[in-house]
């Protein structure tokens, strides 16, 4: 494997190195297993596609910092979204045959770093900000026609972050983080006192609001941002608390399409170690365990979805990326480390780049 990495680095090639024998048809052959945005040791931004053993299949250069990635077998494409308030998304061919295509958000919108394909791969959806109105929208792109933007619908809240497609294939769940930002002011958070986060279910066929769920009013400074769906179609979410730092509220909960929303009770020492910040949420392959990470607290927690209690708690410096692996999770860090937890049996590996916040399992 080191030879391939050395070759890629030597050529600085990214997707230009598409003739690598293994990369061709990586998606079709199920070689491609993991994908993540990265920052290289020299400070440049990109993304990495990896095999089961952490072997690098290919890398992709990005103009600025990326965030999450979505891949559709049906479309034969992956998309990496710019970190908020970025204005680009790069559509790439995981098999390296087609050249990457850069999408630019339309005037008055920027990306939030997350998105999904429709089940048939014909449409791409992205969380975006209508920043003049301080309202979230889902941008709709036609994957069959050069990813032309063909419309949008509201997320019924401010600062949408992660969006997922429910197992029914027609309902989106979107986490409205509740925080207003505007590109005129960089990443400054403009409404901390009055923020109003929510989890919304939206019909992807017409943008109709199916349901909107909020936590208690006393928790309005708890920004709901990342999610994963368990075996019973419950939407687990992780939060970032923007209120008084001396208060450490619960940060993990779940919402259902029946209209239930609740925080689970994690033990006090676990909550304190999460440092009021959950950076990503993932579900295990069998849907029975929920992984949450805190790069602020250097903590990874695997929660038993039925018992609602931590099954495994591990530390990983600057650990944030999480994806299903084996019976548990693979976890990645801003320091370049990759480990397995909670039943994922894999050796610890270190890379000469920084993993960004999210790891995708294809």
């Amino acid at each position: 494997m080191w030879q391939r990495r050395a070759f890629l680095k030597a050529t600085g090639a990214g997707f230009a190195a598409s003739l690598l024998p293994r990369q061709a048809f990586a998606l079709e052959r199920n070689d491609l297993v993991f994908a993540s945005a990265i920052q290289t040791a020299s400070g440049a931004y990109g993304a990495v596609l990896m095999g089961e053993r952490g072997d690098i299949i290919s890398t992709l250069d990005l103009p600025d910092r990326g965030h999450d990635i979505t891949i559709s077998r049906e479309a034969g494409r992956g998309v990496i979204f710019a970190r908020q308030p970025g204005t680009f998304a790069v559509v790439f061919d995981p098999d390296g045959q087609a050249a990457p295509q850069t999408l630019t958000s339309i005037d008055g919108r920027h990306f939030f770093g997350h998105g999904v394909f429709s089940p048939d791969g014909k449409l791409l959806y992205a969380t975006e900000s209508d920043y003049e109105a301080a309202q979230g929208v889902v941008g709709i792109y036609d994957a069959t026609n050069g990813y032309r933007r063909i419309g949008e619908f509201p997320t019924y809240g401010t600062g949408p972050h992660e969006m997922l497609l429910m197992p029914d294939g027609v309902t989106f769940v979107v986490a409205n983080g509740g925080i207003e930002t505007h590109p005129d002011f960089g990443r400054a958070e403009l409404n901390i006192e009055t923020m109003d986060p929510s989890v919304v279910f939206i019909d992807r066929r017409d943008g109709r609001l199916v349901g909107q769920l909020r936590l208690d009013a006393g928790l309005h400074q708890l920004s709901i941002r990342h999610m994963a769906i368990d075996a019973r179609s419950r939407v687990w979410f992780g939060c970032q608390y923007k209120g008084s730092p001396s208060y450490a509220p619960q940060l993990v909960g779940y919402a259902t399409m029946d209209g239930d929303i609740r925080l689970i009770e994690l033990p006090a020492d676990t909550i304190l170690s999460l440092r009021n910040y959950v950076g990503s949420v993932a579900v295990s392959a069998d849907g029975s365990k929920i992984g949450v990470s805190s790069p602020e607290g250097d903590l990874l927690v695997a929660i038993d979805a039925e018992g609602r209690q931590p099954a495994v708690v591990e530390t990983l410096r600057s650990g944030c990326g999480l994806a299903a692996d084996g019976a548990g999770f693979i976890a990645t860090s801003g320091m370049g480390d990759m480990i397995g937890i909670a039943g994922a049996e894999r050796p610890t590996q270190s890379f000469d780049f920084h993993f960004d916040n999210h790891m995708l399992r294809v």
């Binding site: 400070g43 006192e193 730092p245 950076g279 801003g334």
Partner: protein
Amino acid sequence: MRILFGAVLALALSAPVAAQTTTPSEVLRSSVSNFVRPQMNSFAREAETLSSAVMTLCTTPSAETLAEAKTAFSGAATAYGRVEFLRLGPLMEDNRADRLLFWPDRRSIGLKQVQAVLAASETPSLEELTGKSVAVQGFGALEFVLFGTGQEALASAAGQARCGYGKAIAQNIAQIAAALADGWSDPNGIAKRLTQPDPANTDYRDTTEALEALIGVVAHGIENVRDTRINPFLPKDDAKPNPRLALFWRSEQTIPMLRANVSGLRQLVELSGMVSDGALAAKVTDAFDRAEAALDRVTDPIDTALADPAQTAALGDLVVATQDLQQLIGEELSSTLGLSVGFSSLDGD
């Protein structure tokens, strides 16, 4: 101790950022004792002076007492400008940062709310004020009271109700400033947790975490100055500047506030000894020098300055200097120290 501190300050302000090797624990201790505590105390004193000046204005309204209140406003606002980047511990409790200064106010929500308070028949007491929107409680609101449309009434009995509102705001600012100073003075409070990290702490468990927090607030403070205090009013694609998006344009404190921001950040960096690498220290010193030199070239109030290409260019140079500082402190310094500041943590995503 006081004499020693003065000597350290004088030395540090005239010498390069730092040259000697300093341990992380020393950096943390120096930050608190040489910068944070004295500057928080200074802000508390200036806020008390402001509160007294507005009270005097209300009891004996005149052109003189109004002028004194305005001067006291500038003193307290710039004292806050030196510490407002310290967004950890006491300043982040109870929405204090927003209550002291709600900014940016993108849709002029604060201005509309302040005007509504001024138009109401009842003047809010301090207790009533603290229950209202953060936007009507702090420096932004008080600036409008003292410098905005209708302020001339404050020089006579005609401005009694307006003055009463101003008095409540000034008391609120003084109360919050005192709480910040007390919070940092508490021998068992934030200062202890930051300088003597302990696994049993709810916030800082080890020196790495404490140092990440400290360097993180510096890096984000610089970013915040650039993104919310300079860039919004500079000319963009349409080449038109927008001085109304400048903080404190009414009181002509835009540039003094920027100067206070840069000065506070610089003093913390220098007095803490956080940059121990000689080459990096020289680059940091140079970038701060360029930022201050750029501010020196802006000699007019912000609306006039933005009509002058030379002064607008100076503000552009200030942006470049802050970008360099963010890179030097948020990336180079943190990577030198083996910290993860500025990448996957501390950036809310």
